[in-house]
Subunit: 186 residues, 2 copies
DNA sequence: ATCATATACGGTATCAATACCGTATAAACA
DNA sequence: TGTTTATACGGTATTGATACCGTATATGAT
Protein backbone atom coordinates (compact mmCIF):
# COMPACT_ATOMS: atom_id res chain seq x y z
CA UNK A 1 0.00 0.00 0.00
CA UNK A 2 1.43 3.32 -1.12
CA UNK A 3 1.98 5.67 1.76
CA UNK A 4 1.79 8.79 -0.40
CA UNK A 5 -1.56 7.69 -1.78
CA UNK A 6 -2.89 7.33 1.73
CA UNK A 7 -1.67 10.77 2.70
CA UNK A 8 -3.37 12.29 -0.32
CA UNK A 9 -6.59 10.49 0.46
CA UNK A 10 -6.49 11.77 4.03
CA UNK A 11 -5.82 15.29 2.81
CA UNK A 12 -8.82 15.02 0.49
CA UNK A 13 -11.04 13.87 3.31
CA UNK A 14 -9.88 16.46 5.85
CA UNK A 15 -9.65 19.39 3.42
CA UNK A 16 -11.00 22.71 4.76
CA UNK A 17 -13.27 22.98 1.71
CA UNK A 18 -15.99 20.81 0.17
CA UNK A 19 -14.76 18.34 -2.45
CA UNK A 20 -16.53 15.77 -4.57
CA UNK A 21 -16.11 13.60 -7.64
CA UNK A 22 -18.95 12.84 -10.01
CA UNK A 23 -19.52 10.53 -12.94
CA UNK A 24 -22.30 11.64 -15.22
CA UNK A 25 -23.78 13.69 -12.40
CA UNK A 26 -23.70 10.83 -9.94
CA UNK A 27 -21.62 11.36 -6.83
CA UNK A 28 -18.63 9.06 -6.61
CA UNK A 29 -16.58 10.23 -3.64
CA UNK A 30 -16.87 13.27 -1.42
CA UNK A 31 -15.07 14.49 1.65
CA UNK A 32 -16.20 15.21 5.17
CA UNK A 33 -16.52 18.95 4.68
CA UNK A 34 -18.77 18.48 1.65
CA UNK A 35 -21.13 16.13 3.46
CA UNK A 36 -21.27 18.32 6.55
CA UNK A 37 -21.84 21.49 4.56
CA UNK A 38 -24.90 19.89 2.99
CA UNK A 39 -26.17 18.21 6.15
CA UNK A 40 -25.66 14.60 5.07
CA UNK A 41 -23.79 11.63 6.39
CA UNK A 42 -21.02 10.96 3.95
CA UNK A 43 -22.10 7.39 3.29
CA UNK A 44 -25.64 8.46 2.36
CA UNK A 45 -24.28 10.51 -0.53
CA UNK A 46 -22.25 7.84 -2.31
CA UNK A 47 -23.96 6.80 -5.53
CA UNK A 48 -26.63 9.49 -5.26
CA UNK A 49 -27.55 11.80 -8.11
CA UNK A 50 -26.47 15.40 -7.65
CA UNK A 51 -30.11 16.27 -8.25
CA UNK A 52 -30.83 16.02 -4.51
CA UNK A 53 -28.28 18.77 -3.84
CA UNK A 54 -30.08 21.37 -5.95
CA UNK A 55 -33.27 23.21 -5.05
CA UNK A 56 -35.19 22.21 -8.19
CA UNK A 57 -34.98 20.09 -11.27
CA UNK A 58 -34.83 23.26 -13.37
CA UNK A 59 -31.78 24.46 -11.42
CA UNK A 60 -30.21 21.01 -11.74
CA UNK A 61 -30.58 21.22 -15.53
CA UNK A 62 -29.44 24.83 -15.68
CA UNK A 63 -26.13 24.21 -13.91
CA UNK A 64 -25.43 21.25 -16.20
CA UNK A 65 -25.48 23.44 -19.28
CA UNK A 66 -23.81 26.66 -18.22
CA UNK A 67 -20.28 25.37 -17.79
CA UNK A 68 -20.22 22.71 -20.49
CA UNK A 69 -18.70 24.73 -23.29
CA UNK A 70 -16.09 26.32 -21.03
CA UNK A 71 -15.08 22.89 -19.82
CA UNK A 72 -14.80 21.49 -23.32
CA UNK A 73 -12.52 24.41 -24.20
CA UNK A 74 -10.48 24.80 -21.02
CA UNK A 75 -11.05 21.67 -18.97
CA UNK A 76 -12.22 23.67 -15.99
CA UNK A 77 -15.04 25.95 -14.95
CA UNK A 78 -16.06 28.09 -11.98
CA UNK A 79 -19.12 29.99 -10.88
CA UNK A 80 -21.23 30.84 -7.85
CA UNK A 81 -24.20 28.60 -7.28
CA UNK A 82 -26.92 27.74 -4.85
CA UNK A 83 -26.95 24.27 -3.35
CA UNK A 84 -29.65 22.86 -1.14
CA UNK A 85 -28.92 21.38 2.24
CA UNK A 86 -30.74 18.23 3.39
CA UNK A 87 -33.07 20.33 5.54
CA UNK A 88 -33.92 22.52 2.55
CA UNK A 89 -31.81 25.53 3.55
CA UNK A 90 -29.99 26.99 0.54
CA UNK A 91 -26.19 27.18 0.64
CA UNK A 92 -24.37 29.55 -1.63
CA UNK A 93 -21.05 28.22 -2.93
CA UNK A 94 -18.07 29.11 -5.02
CA UNK A 95 -18.08 26.17 -7.34
CA UNK A 96 -14.98 24.98 -9.21
CA UNK A 97 -14.74 21.99 -11.49
CA UNK A 98 -12.11 20.23 -13.52
CA UNK A 99 -13.01 17.50 -15.94
CA UNK A 100 -10.78 14.50 -16.48
CA UNK A 101 -12.66 13.74 -19.71
CA UNK A 102 -12.71 16.91 -21.84
CA UNK A 103 -14.56 15.23 -24.71
CA UNK A 104 -17.45 14.41 -22.43
CA UNK A 105 -16.93 16.82 -19.51
CA UNK A 106 -19.58 15.37 -17.21
CA UNK A 107 -18.24 11.85 -17.45
CA UNK A 108 -15.60 12.43 -14.79
CA UNK A 109 -15.57 15.64 -12.77
CA UNK A 110 -13.53 16.76 -9.78
CA UNK A 111 -15.23 19.62 -7.96
CA UNK A 112 -14.61 21.94 -5.04
CA UNK A 113 -17.26 23.87 -3.15
CA UNK A 114 -16.34 26.82 -0.94
CA UNK A 115 -19.19 28.04 1.16
CA UNK A 116 -19.58 31.69 0.41
CA UNK A 117 -21.25 33.01 3.51
CA UNK A 118 -22.30 31.79 6.88
CA UNK A 119 -25.93 31.52 7.63
CA UNK A 120 -27.22 35.01 8.13
CA UNK A 121 -28.58 34.73 11.68
CA UNK A 122 -32.06 33.37 11.63
CA UNK A 123 -32.94 33.94 8.03
CA UNK A 124 -31.61 33.22 4.60
CA UNK A 125 -31.82 35.47 1.63
CA UNK A 126 -35.01 35.83 -0.36
CA UNK A 127 -35.11 35.06 -4.04
CA UNK A 128 -35.19 38.75 -4.87
CA UNK A 129 -32.19 39.41 -2.66
CA UNK A 130 -30.12 36.67 -4.27
CA UNK A 131 -31.16 37.87 -7.69
CA UNK A 132 -30.10 41.45 -7.01
CA UNK A 133 -26.91 40.25 -5.33
CA UNK A 134 -25.84 38.36 -8.41
CA UNK A 135 -26.30 41.46 -10.57
CA UNK A 136 -24.43 43.57 -8.03
CA UNK A 137 -21.47 41.23 -8.24
CA UNK A 138 -21.31 42.00 -11.95
CA UNK A 139 -20.92 45.66 -11.08
CA UNK A 140 -24.39 46.69 -12.24
CA UNK A 141 -25.90 49.87 -10.80
CA UNK A 142 -29.39 50.02 -9.28
CA UNK A 143 -30.64 51.71 -12.41
CA UNK A 144 -29.25 48.96 -14.64
CA UNK A 145 -30.57 46.18 -12.44
CA UNK A 146 -33.98 47.85 -12.39
CA UNK A 147 -34.06 47.89 -16.18
CA UNK A 148 -32.94 44.26 -16.26
CA UNK A 149 -35.63 43.07 -13.88
CA UNK A 150 -38.38 45.45 -14.99
CA UNK A 151 -38.47 47.23 -11.63
CA UNK A 152 -37.98 50.75 -10.40
CA UNK A 153 -34.41 51.61 -9.39
CA UNK A 154 -35.93 52.67 -6.09
CA UNK A 155 -37.02 49.10 -5.43
CA UNK A 156 -33.52 47.81 -6.12
CA UNK A 157 -32.23 50.28 -3.57
CA UNK A 158 -34.64 48.83 -1.04
CA UNK A 159 -33.32 45.34 -1.69
CA UNK A 160 -29.74 46.62 -1.40
CA UNK A 161 -30.56 48.22 1.93
CA UNK A 162 -32.00 44.95 3.21
CA UNK A 163 -28.85 43.11 2.11
CA UNK A 164 -26.62 45.60 3.90
CA UNK A 165 -28.69 45.23 7.07
CA UNK A 166 -28.71 41.42 6.94
CA UNK A 167 -24.96 41.16 6.54
CA UNK A 168 -24.24 44.03 8.89
CA UNK A 169 -21.99 45.76 6.41
CA UNK A 170 -21.88 49.44 5.55
CA UNK A 171 -21.70 49.41 1.78
CA UNK A 172 -21.83 47.23 -1.31
CA UNK A 173 -18.05 46.85 -1.48
CA UNK A 174 -17.88 45.29 1.95
CA UNK A 175 -20.90 43.16 1.09
CA UNK A 176 -19.28 41.72 -2.01
CA UNK A 177 -15.98 41.00 -0.36
CA UNK A 178 -17.79 39.31 2.51
CA UNK A 179 -19.60 37.14 -0.03
CA UNK A 180 -16.33 35.66 -1.16
CA UNK A 181 -15.92 33.40 1.84
CA UNK A 182 -17.46 32.43 5.13
CA UNK A 183 -16.05 34.60 7.87
CA UNK A 184 -16.55 34.42 11.62
CA UNK A 185 -19.38 36.79 12.46
CA UNK A 186 -18.92 39.96 14.51
CA UNK B 1 -5.28 -1.81 -2.17
CA UNK B 2 -8.41 0.13 -1.31
CA UNK B 3 -10.14 1.45 -4.40
CA UNK B 4 -11.87 4.28 -2.54
CA UNK B 5 -8.54 5.47 -1.17
CA UNK B 6 -7.15 5.61 -4.67
CA UNK B 7 -10.12 7.62 -5.91
CA UNK B 8 -9.72 10.10 -3.10
CA UNK B 9 -6.02 10.46 -3.81
CA UNK B 10 -6.75 11.10 -7.48
CA UNK B 11 -9.39 13.68 -6.57
CA UNK B 12 -6.85 15.40 -4.32
CA UNK B 13 -4.29 15.50 -7.09
CA UNK B 14 -6.68 16.71 -9.81
CA UNK B 15 -8.63 19.16 -7.66
CA UNK B 16 -9.42 22.51 -9.33
CA UNK B 17 -7.84 24.31 -6.41
CA UNK B 18 -4.42 24.29 -4.73
CA UNK B 19 -4.06 21.83 -1.86
CA UNK B 20 -1.19 20.99 0.43
CA UNK B 21 -0.35 19.27 3.68
CA UNK B 22 2.31 20.52 6.06
CA UNK B 23 4.04 19.24 9.16
CA UNK B 24 5.58 21.98 11.26
CA UNK B 25 5.66 24.23 8.20
CA UNK B 26 7.35 21.67 6.02
CA UNK B 27 5.44 20.59 2.95
CA UNK B 28 4.36 16.97 3.02
CA UNK B 29 2.12 16.46 -0.01
CA UNK B 30 0.66 18.88 -2.50
CA UNK B 31 -1.43 18.52 -5.61
CA UNK B 32 -0.82 19.44 -9.22
CA UNK B 33 -2.77 22.71 -9.09
CA UNK B 34 -0.75 23.90 -6.09
CA UNK B 35 2.58 23.21 -7.75
CA UNK B 36 1.52 24.79 -11.02
CA UNK B 37 0.08 27.85 -9.34
CA UNK B 38 3.45 28.49 -7.72
CA UNK B 39 5.54 27.57 -10.74
CA UNK B 40 7.19 24.47 -9.33
CA UNK B 41 7.44 20.87 -10.31
CA UNK B 42 5.51 18.93 -7.71
CA UNK B 43 8.47 16.72 -6.81
CA UNK B 44 10.67 19.73 -6.06
CA UNK B 45 8.31 20.87 -3.34
CA UNK B 46 8.17 17.70 -1.26
CA UNK B 47 10.06 18.14 1.98
CA UNK B 48 10.66 21.85 1.39
CA UNK B 49 9.98 24.50 4.00
CA UNK B 50 7.00 26.75 3.24
CA UNK B 51 9.46 29.61 3.65
CA UNK B 52 10.29 29.49 -0.06
CA UNK B 53 6.65 30.19 -0.90
CA UNK B 54 6.53 33.52 0.90
CA UNK B 55 8.09 36.77 -0.25
CA UNK B 56 10.13 37.36 2.91
CA UNK B 57 11.07 35.83 6.18
CA UNK B 58 9.05 38.48 7.98
CA UNK B 59 5.94 37.50 6.01
CA UNK B 60 6.66 33.84 6.70
CA UNK B 61 6.72 34.56 10.43
CA UNK B 62 3.67 36.81 10.28
CA UNK B 63 1.40 34.23 8.67
CA UNK B 64 2.48 31.66 11.23
CA UNK B 65 1.14 33.73 14.09
CA UNK B 66 -2.04 35.29 12.78
CA UNK B 67 -4.14 32.14 12.57
CA UNK B 68 -2.71 30.20 15.50
CA UNK B 69 -5.21 31.19 18.15
CA UNK B 70 -8.21 30.77 15.84
CA UNK B 71 -6.99 27.29 14.97
CA UNK B 72 -6.50 26.34 18.59
CA UNK B 73 -10.07 27.44 19.26
CA UNK B 74 -11.87 26.28 16.11
CA UNK B 75 -9.52 23.88 14.36
CA UNK B 76 -9.64 25.92 11.18
CA UNK B 77 -8.65 29.30 9.83
CA UNK B 78 -9.00 31.36 6.66
CA UNK B 79 -7.58 34.57 5.28
CA UNK B 80 -6.27 36.21 2.13
CA UNK B 81 -2.53 36.08 1.70
CA UNK B 82 0.27 36.72 -0.72
CA UNK B 83 2.35 33.80 -1.87
CA UNK B 84 5.47 34.03 -4.00
CA UNK B 85 5.85 32.10 -7.20
CA UNK B 86 9.17 30.49 -8.10
CA UNK B 87 9.91 33.36 -10.52
CA UNK B 88 9.22 35.90 -7.76
CA UNK B 89 5.79 36.99 -9.00
CA UNK B 90 3.35 37.41 -6.11
CA UNK B 91 0.18 35.31 -6.12
CA UNK B 92 -2.78 36.39 -4.05
CA UNK B 93 -4.73 33.52 -2.51
CA UNK B 94 -7.73 32.71 -0.44
CA UNK B 95 -6.09 30.53 2.16
CA UNK B 96 -7.96 27.95 4.21
CA UNK B 97 -6.48 25.60 6.77
CA UNK B 98 -7.65 22.84 9.03
CA UNK B 99 -5.41 21.39 11.68
CA UNK B 100 -5.47 17.71 12.56
CA UNK B 101 -3.60 18.48 15.77
CA UNK B 102 -5.48 21.28 17.60
CA UNK B 103 -3.11 21.26 20.56
CA UNK B 104 -0.21 22.07 18.28
CA UNK B 105 -1.93 23.44 15.16
CA UNK B 106 1.13 23.59 12.96
CA UNK B 107 2.09 19.99 13.59
CA UNK B 108 -0.30 18.68 10.93
CA UNK B 109 -2.16 21.07 8.63
CA UNK B 110 -4.36 20.51 5.60
CA UNK B 111 -4.60 23.65 3.47
CA UNK B 112 -6.36 24.88 0.39
CA UNK B 113 -5.26 27.81 -1.77
CA UNK B 114 -7.67 29.43 -4.20
CA UNK B 115 -5.99 31.87 -6.52
CA UNK B 116 -7.86 35.11 -6.18
CA UNK B 117 -7.11 36.69 -9.49
CA UNK B 118 -5.41 35.89 -12.71
CA UNK B 119 -2.27 37.64 -13.67
CA UNK B 120 -3.28 41.07 -14.77
CA UNK B 121 -1.86 41.08 -18.29
CA UNK B 122 1.72 42.16 -18.22
CA UNK B 123 1.90 43.56 -14.75
CA UNK B 124 1.14 42.66 -11.21
CA UNK B 125 -0.21 45.01 -8.61
CA UNK B 126 2.05 47.44 -6.86
CA UNK B 127 2.38 47.44 -3.12
CA UNK B 128 0.24 50.55 -2.90
CA UNK B 129 -2.45 48.98 -5.03
CA UNK B 130 -2.60 45.84 -2.91
CA UNK B 131 -2.63 47.93 0.22
CA UNK B 132 -5.56 50.05 -0.95
CA UNK B 133 -7.35 46.95 -2.23
CA UNK B 134 -7.25 45.30 1.14
CA UNK B 135 -8.83 48.36 2.75
CA UNK B 136 -11.44 48.56 0.02
CA UNK B 137 -12.46 44.99 0.73
CA UNK B 138 -13.24 46.07 4.27
CA UNK B 139 -15.66 48.64 2.89
CA UNK B 140 -13.52 51.66 3.69
CA UNK B 141 -14.09 54.86 1.72
CA UNK B 142 -11.31 56.78 0.02
CA UNK B 143 -11.43 59.35 2.79
CA UNK B 144 -11.05 56.69 5.47
CA UNK B 145 -8.23 54.92 3.65
CA UNK B 146 -6.46 58.24 3.17
CA UNK B 147 -6.61 58.91 6.89
CA UNK B 148 -5.37 55.38 7.59
CA UNK B 149 -2.36 55.66 5.29
CA UNK B 150 -1.62 59.33 5.88
CA UNK B 151 -2.41 60.26 2.28
CA UNK B 152 -4.83 62.59 0.55
CA UNK B 153 -8.17 61.01 -0.37
CA UNK B 154 -7.41 62.22 -3.88
CA UNK B 155 -4.41 59.94 -4.05
CA UNK B 156 -6.50 56.97 -2.99
CA UNK B 157 -8.87 57.78 -5.83
CA UNK B 158 -5.94 57.65 -8.23
CA UNK B 159 -4.99 54.21 -6.97
CA UNK B 160 -8.63 53.07 -7.28
CA UNK B 161 -8.74 54.31 -10.84
CA UNK B 162 -5.59 52.35 -11.66
CA UNK B 163 -7.10 49.22 -10.14
CA UNK B 164 -10.28 49.60 -12.18
CA UNK B 165 -8.24 50.04 -15.35
CA UNK B 166 -5.98 47.07 -14.64
CA UNK B 167 -8.85 44.71 -14.01
CA UNK B 168 -11.01 46.20 -16.75
CA UNK B 169 -13.98 46.63 -14.44
CA UNK B 170 -16.27 49.61 -14.16
CA UNK B 171 -16.59 50.04 -10.43
CA UNK B 172 -15.35 48.87 -7.05
CA UNK B 173 -18.18 46.36 -6.63
CA UNK B 174 -17.22 44.49 -9.76
CA UNK B 175 -13.57 44.74 -8.75
CA UNK B 176 -14.18 43.13 -5.37
CA UNK B 177 -16.31 40.35 -6.72
CA UNK B 178 -13.71 39.66 -9.38
CA UNK B 179 -11.10 39.42 -6.61
CA UNK B 180 -12.91 36.49 -5.09
CA UNK B 181 -11.75 34.03 -7.70
CA UNK B 182 -9.74 33.68 -10.85
CA UNK B 183 -11.98 34.14 -13.84
CA UNK B 184 -11.27 33.76 -17.54
CA UNK B 185 -10.32 37.16 -18.83
CA UNK B 186 -12.50 39.09 -21.23
C1' DA C 1 18.19 61.14 -22.77
C1' DT C 2 13.55 60.08 -23.52
C1' DC C 3 9.48 57.55 -22.50
C1' DA C 4 6.30 55.22 -19.62
C1' DT C 5 4.55 54.48 -15.16
C1' DA C 6 3.68 54.98 -10.25
C1' DT C 7 3.20 58.14 -6.89
C1' DA C 8 0.93 62.24 -4.89
C1' DC C 9 -2.05 66.13 -4.98
C1' DG C 10 -5.54 70.01 -6.42
C1' DG C 11 -10.07 71.33 -8.68
C1' DT C 12 -14.60 70.44 -10.69
C1' DA C 13 -18.58 68.06 -12.65
C1' DT C 14 -21.67 64.31 -12.77
C1' DC C 15 -23.67 60.30 -11.40
C1' DA C 16 -24.39 56.56 -7.87
C1' DA C 17 -25.16 55.11 -3.26
C1' DT C 18 -27.04 55.55 1.06
C1' DA C 19 -30.22 57.13 4.42
C1' DC C 20 -34.06 59.16 5.60
C1' DC C 21 -39.27 60.69 4.96
C1' DG C 22 -43.61 58.68 3.28
C1' DT C 23 -47.52 55.07 1.14
C1' DA C 24 -49.38 50.59 -0.25
C1' DT C 25 -50.14 45.51 -0.97
C1' DA C 26 -49.47 40.63 0.02
C1' DA C 27 -47.93 36.79 2.64
C1' DA C 28 -46.63 34.58 6.90
C1' DC C 29 -47.50 33.99 11.63
C1' DA C 30 -48.80 33.98 16.45
C1' DT D 1 -56.85 39.78 14.22
C1' DG D 2 -53.05 42.33 14.66
C1' DT D 3 -47.81 42.14 13.69
C1' DT D 4 -44.10 41.49 11.12
C1' DT D 5 -41.70 41.11 6.77
C1' DA D 6 -40.98 41.35 1.85
C1' DT D 7 -42.22 43.65 -2.01
C1' DA D 8 -42.68 47.95 -4.70
C1' DC D 9 -42.55 52.82 -5.33
C1' DG D 10 -42.11 58.17 -4.66
C1' DG D 11 -39.34 62.26 -2.87
C1' DT D 12 -35.19 64.47 -0.95
C1' DA D 13 -30.69 65.28 1.11
C1' DT D 14 -26.02 64.00 1.88
C1' DT D 15 -22.07 61.61 0.95
C1' DG D 16 -19.16 58.82 -2.10
C1' DA D 17 -17.37 57.36 -6.59
C1' DT D 18 -15.81 58.22 -10.98
C1' DA D 19 -14.01 60.84 -14.70
C1' DC D 20 -12.06 64.51 -16.32
C1' DC D 21 -8.75 68.91 -16.16
C1' DG D 22 -4.17 70.10 -14.42
C1' DT D 23 1.00 69.82 -11.94
C1' DA D 24 5.02 67.55 -9.96
C1' DT D 25 8.56 64.06 -8.55
C1' DA D 26 10.75 59.56 -8.77
C1' DT D 27 11.96 55.33 -10.94
C1' DG D 28 12.97 52.05 -14.31
C1' DA D 29 13.47 50.69 -19.09
C1' DT D 30 14.94 51.40 -23.90
Amino acid sequence: MDNLTQQMAQAFDMAPIGMAVSNHRVLGVCNTFFAQMLGYDRRDLLGQSFRILYPSHAEFDRVRDIGLKTMEDHGSYSDERMMQRKDGVPVWCRFRARTLTPDDPLAHLVMSFAQIYDQVDGGQLTKREREVLSWLSRGQTSKEIGRELGLSPRTIEDVRARLLRKFEVKNTSELLSRMSYARPRG
